[in-house]
């Protein structure tokens, strides 16, 4: 049986940033195996398919919907299978969390505190932002010890008014949609089709210049579906996977699961993970659009898809009672169908934090490779936050010439999968410790946003990438 120093499952953000740091610290003769369920479906071929030119590769990887059983069809859990994981479908929003997001229990008496705090993560936030060449502003509501690598995107006319009124509570959104050409990426030109960026402005694992998967110490195995781990007392011993219809097992000193919060949990459950919280607490944010008609004011000039983030209803003592809301100023090419008022409107996406609820979960399915995913509804804490927003928004937007505000139906997803292997300092209250090591199996890392202790309103990718850098830096 082949033996490795490290075996990693998955090639998305969580695995890539973990490996990046690990390889900086590992000896020249380290042996690493990466198991990727899918294959590389290059960006150029994705574009070809979207133009209708048929690359022949569109069926290379399974559609995400075929890979699990969704018990609630009104709730969606999108992701991308294949090399680079969901870097191939994310929209590139990278705000940091606020320091208080990590202290929900001690500050607001809600849910639990994270075992890691903002100050400890700050250098890794900075490193992740530099690796992704994030565009962002000088002044932000969260503290930073370094500047963003790229200048901020341009505000729209509406954002300028809101920024003037609210200062660093209304900022140019920190984003991995480049504001200038950098490396293999072009500047964003507001195509607003970010899942597959038409001009390759968005950071992906494929266009990154992080030398990870071509490092001579790393052996890649594509088409390798991890099924379970052999767990023995406090250690993971072997990893089992299926490739070309054949089951194979390899051993390693250390394992890292970096698939996603559905499949990391599923692999652990298939392995007989003894922790009672594994798979429990699945969740994400809750969001909807507010469409605001403006009198005699054009909303123009923004240089990316989401031009700004608003924090006016985010942090404060209200979080003792109801959820924080992060606002996004959405600059898609919306049109108002009224003579002379074609762009007299603004669309804001309102994104609310949620709390983990144990009945929302990933469980073993009849087919061990197709986990069952159950989600009931957002918490009352979140829905109270929605009511607060609807009360406060007219006053907050009174700096604009508002004609009317209309709320659209909630989205079926915010496209994030969180919380199935949550971190906690107390091994009874969480599956992982602050270094993403399993509390029971001490050579097993479980990476990614499944580790999130609570579900802040922010997009998770930057934070999960920083957590991977931190975990590898502190552990090797």
């Amino acid at each position: 049986m082949r033996h490795y120093d490290l075996i990693v499952a998955g090639t998305g953000f969580a695995s890539t940033f973990f490996l990046y740091k690990y390889l900086q610290k590992a000896p020249a003769n380290a042996k690493v195996l990466v198991l990727e369920r899918g294959h590389l479906y290059p960006h150029a071929d994705r574009l070809r398919d979207l133009r209708g030119e048929k690359s022949g590769l569109s069926k290379l990887n399974p559609n995400h919907g075929e890979t699990f059983v969704n018990k609630n069809p009104d709730k969606h859990w999108p992701f991308t299978v294949g090399f680079g994981g969901s870097s191939n479908c994310w929209y590139g929003c990278t705000p940091r969390f606020l320091p208080s997001d990590f202290r929900m229990k001690s500050k607001y008496g809600v849910a639990e505190d994270w075992p890691i705090q903002y100050d400890e993560l700050e250098p890794y936030y900075s490193e992740a932002e530099h690796l992704m060449n994030i565009s962002g502003p000088e002044d932000t509501p969260f503290p930073r010890n370094s500047k963003y690598p790229l200048p901020p995107h341009s505000f729209s006319t509406v954002d300028k008014v809101l920024h003037k009124a609210y200062g660093n509570q209304w900022i140019s959104q920190p984003t991995a949609r480049a504001s200038r050409a950098v490396g293999k990426r072009n500047p964003c030109c507001v195509s607003a089709s970010c899942s597959v960026c038409p001009v390759s402005a968005k950071f992906t694992i494929e266009n990154s210049e992080m030398i990870v998967y071509t490092d001579p110490r790393v052996e890649m195995s594509y088409g390798s579906l991890v099924t379970y781990l052999e767990l023995e007392q406090t250690q993971a011993k072997k990893i089992y996977f299926t490739k070309d219809g054949k089951d194979t097992a390899f051993s390693a000193d250390v394992f890292a699961l970096g698939t996603n919060a559905i499949f990391n949990a599923s692999i652990l459950l298939n392995s007989g993970d003894a922790h009672p919280l594994t798979g429990k607490g699945l969740g994400e944010q809750f969001g909807f659009d507010a469409v605001v008609h403006l009198k005699d004011m054009e909303n123009v000039g923004g240089s990316t898809w989401v031009t700004a983030n608003g924090y006016m209803l985010y942090d404060g003592d209200h979080r003792k009672n109801f959820a924080a809301c992060l606002m996004e100023s959405n600059n898609a090419p919306y049109v108002r169908l009224e003579s002379g008022k074609w762009r007299h409107l603004a669309t804001f996406r309102m994104i609310f934090e949620d709390l983990p609820q144990e009945e929302n979960q990933v469980a073993r399915g009849e087919d061990r490779n197709k986990p069952e995913v159950s989600f009931n509804k957002p918490s009352d804490y979140t829905l109270r936050g929605v009511r607060n927003l609807k009360e406060k928004l007219p006053s907050l937007l009174s700096v604009l010439p508002v004609e009317d505000i209309r709320y659209l139906e909630p989205y079926k997803t915010e496209a994030h999968i969180l919380g199935t292997t949550r971190m906690h300092a107390d091994s009874r209250k969480g599956v992982l410790d602050k270094n993403l090591l399993h509390h029971i199996y001490r050579n097993l890392f479980v990476l990614g946003s499944g580790s999130f202790t609570t579900f802040t309103p922010n997009n998770p990718t930057l934070t999960l990438s920083a957590l991977s850098l931190h975990a590898a830096d502190k552990s090797f």
Binding site: R51, C189, A192, P198, V199, V300, G301, V335
Partner: protein
């Protein structure tokens, strides 16, 4: 109500319902879409031939369920105020035309230039920094 009057009203109602159903089934989506766009933008001058090409191109992107839904909306007079799908259709037409290139000049005839598709024509957002520096 006398029996004869009731039967007359019921008969007329039946004929109207049958005609509406017949029209619902036989009227092609392209005609329905064209009708919706013309009704929503009745204060603008639209190039008829270009509008025909737009609805033909747009129709190729849409499935049967979408087309049936839009036929239903048309039958019951549901407009862009009440339906996101209707709003999206009319917006797609305008974005696929020269209307925004001509700075929303409502006096000019609007001509179709090709489906608004960021994969065929990236960087074409009519309200972005490129147009409004």
């Amino acid at each position: 109500m006398k029996r004869r009057k009731f039967l007359t009203i019921a008969g007329i109602g039946g004929v109207v319902a049958a005609l509406a159903s017949f029209r619902f089934i036989t009227n092609p989506f392209e005609n329905v879409a064209k009708g919706i766009i013309k009704s929503e933008l009745d204060y603008l001058k639209l190039d008829e031939e270009g509008l025909d090409r737009f609805v033909a191109d747009y129709s190729k992107l849409k499935d049967r369920n979408y087309k049936l839904t839009m036929k239903g909306y048309s039958l019951f007079g549901i407009n862009s105020e009440k339906s996101g799908k209707v709003h999206q259709l009319v917006s797609a037409y305008l974005l696929s035309s020269d209307f925004f290139q001509n700075k929303m000049d409502e006096g000019r005839t609007i001509r179709y230039v090709g489906l608004y598709d960021p994969y065929l024509r990236p960087c074409a957002h009519p309200f972005s920094h490129a147009q409004y520096a």
